[in-house]
């Protein structure tokens, strides 16, 4: 009852303030001029990214430097997490010791196998159509990271490591993705463009669909980088707690 009183007070204050505010508040009906510029120019016009999706064209073209530094922040955060959980060489070898086993019943494991293939396809579709539909590199990469998570849940992390996807490889794939982003950003300098320039250096249209110039490459590399980064984090988090306590020398 005591908690309900607080809730009721908050609700009445909220509704009262909202009613008071609503008397001289007009909901916004028009576009801001800057938004209008982006909507007009993302596909047509002189300053064009040749992408029908205005949000992706802003993220990777008009405000590309913001996004480049955002990716850098994400990269540094993951490196920081890995540093917090760092292990010596012998310890990381010991963390890999263990047998992949099927703890869950048979149907769960069989379904996991099929779902992993389907999720990989769906995530690739999200990432590669970032310039046409909602979605893009980050969203696709997040969907990609679900696949290793499912395998960890159904078969344990040792199954992933036995088949060649361990933490080091994940970091390598992640670095390849970041390197790809950097190379795509630097390519225009070779043909006397400026840094992160999009049109007319990259082809705007190919195979019957608008590519958005460099957007499709950025999306592809961001997809790899984000997916592999999340995979590294999940692999670290799935080290058994007893092993980690032993490495740290903590007794509890």
């Amino acid at each position: 009852m005591k908690r309900l009183i607080g809730l009721i007070i908050i609700l009445t204050i909220t509704l009262g303030v909202a009613y008071y505010v609503s008397q001289n508040l007009t909901p916004q009906k028009s576009l801001h001029p800057l938004g209008k510029f982006y909507l007009k120019n993302s596909y047509f016009g002189d300053y064009s990214a040749k992408s029908p999706e205005a949000v992706t064209s802003i993220v990777w073209d008009y405000r590309g430097l913001d996004t480049l530094f955002e990716t850098a922040v994400f990269f540094i955060a993951i490196i920081g997490s890995l540093t917090l959980f760092r292990l010596s060489k012998e310890q990381s070898e010991e963390a890999k010791q263990g047998e992949p086993k099927r703890e869950l019943p048979e149907p769960v494991c069989a379904v996991t196998k099929i779902i992993v293939a389907m999720i990989l396809a769906v995530s690739a579709s999200i990432a590669l159509h970032g310039q046409l539909t909602p979605g893009g590199g980050f969203q696709g990469g997040s969907a990609l990271a679900v696949a290793p998570l499912l395998i960890i849940a159904a078969y344990s992390k040792y199954a992933l490591e036995k088949n060649g996807l361990d933490k080091t490889r994940a970091i390598i794939i992640r670095s390849i993705g970041l390197l790809g982003i950097a190379l795509t950003a630097l390519t225009p300098l070779l043909v006397k463009g400026y840094f992160m320039q999009n049109q007319p250096i990259f082809p705007g249209k190919a195979l019957g669909a608008p590519l958005g110039g460099s957007l499709v490459y950025y999306n592809l590399f961001e997809y790899l980088a984000v997916g592999a980064g999340f995979t590294a984090v999940f692999l670290l988090l799935s080290i058994p707690e007893e092993k980690f306590r032993k490495f740290l020398g903590v007794k509890q």
Partner: protein, 161 residues
């Protein structure tokens, strides 16, 4: 190289349906993605390519899908909704013998049982499914099988065995 073609086909179909358009761009990227995924995970998914690509099996799975949704699901839903209203149930876990041997066939039977409300598979071992049943009418495994998964196993045999 086993399993690559059929996994790539599954991936390609998923990709194209999810994308919802068939411009050349979609077809090319879909094919590349499908081949990469097929090479990566194909060997874990499919044991026998000829079996997986047999059109007769695909025909039976479509028939099964339609039958399952129009008959089995509707019956089970009405039954459980009736039990929710009346509050008349007697839960228990019964043993159901299983004839089919291959992994996917057993998975299909188990998933079909779980997907119909009123029955949930709790565990699977070599010869038996252990089914949590909302209204236990019989404790004899053979009779329980007749009531729970009469139709499923026949189709599973035709599709996967």
């Amino acid at each position: 190289m086993k399993g690559v073609v059929s996994t790539a086909l599954l991936t390609f179909v998923t990709y194209i349906i999810f994308t919802g358009s068939i411009t050349p761009y979609d077809l090319v990227t879909g094919a590349v993605v499908a081949i990469v995924i097929g090479l990566l995970v194909g060997k874990f998914l499919v044991e026998n390519d000829a079996k997986a690509l047999n059109p007769l099996r695909w025909f039976w799975s479509v028939v099964y899908f339609v039958w399952y949704f129009l008959v089995a699901e509707v019956k089970a839903h009405l039954d459980v909704i009736g039990r929710i209203i009346t509050g008349n149930f007697e839960p228990g876990i019964v043993k159901v013998p299983l004839k089919v041997k291959s992994e996917y066939a057993r998975t299909l039977v188990a998933n079909s049982i779980t997907n119909t409300p009123g029955t949930v598979v709790v565990d699977v071992d070599e010869n038996y499914l252990y089914v949590n049943w909302i209204n236990v009418t019989t404790e004899n495994p053979e009779e329980a099988k007749k009531e729970i998964c009469e139709g499923f196993e026949k189709f599973a045999e035709r599709i996967f065995e």
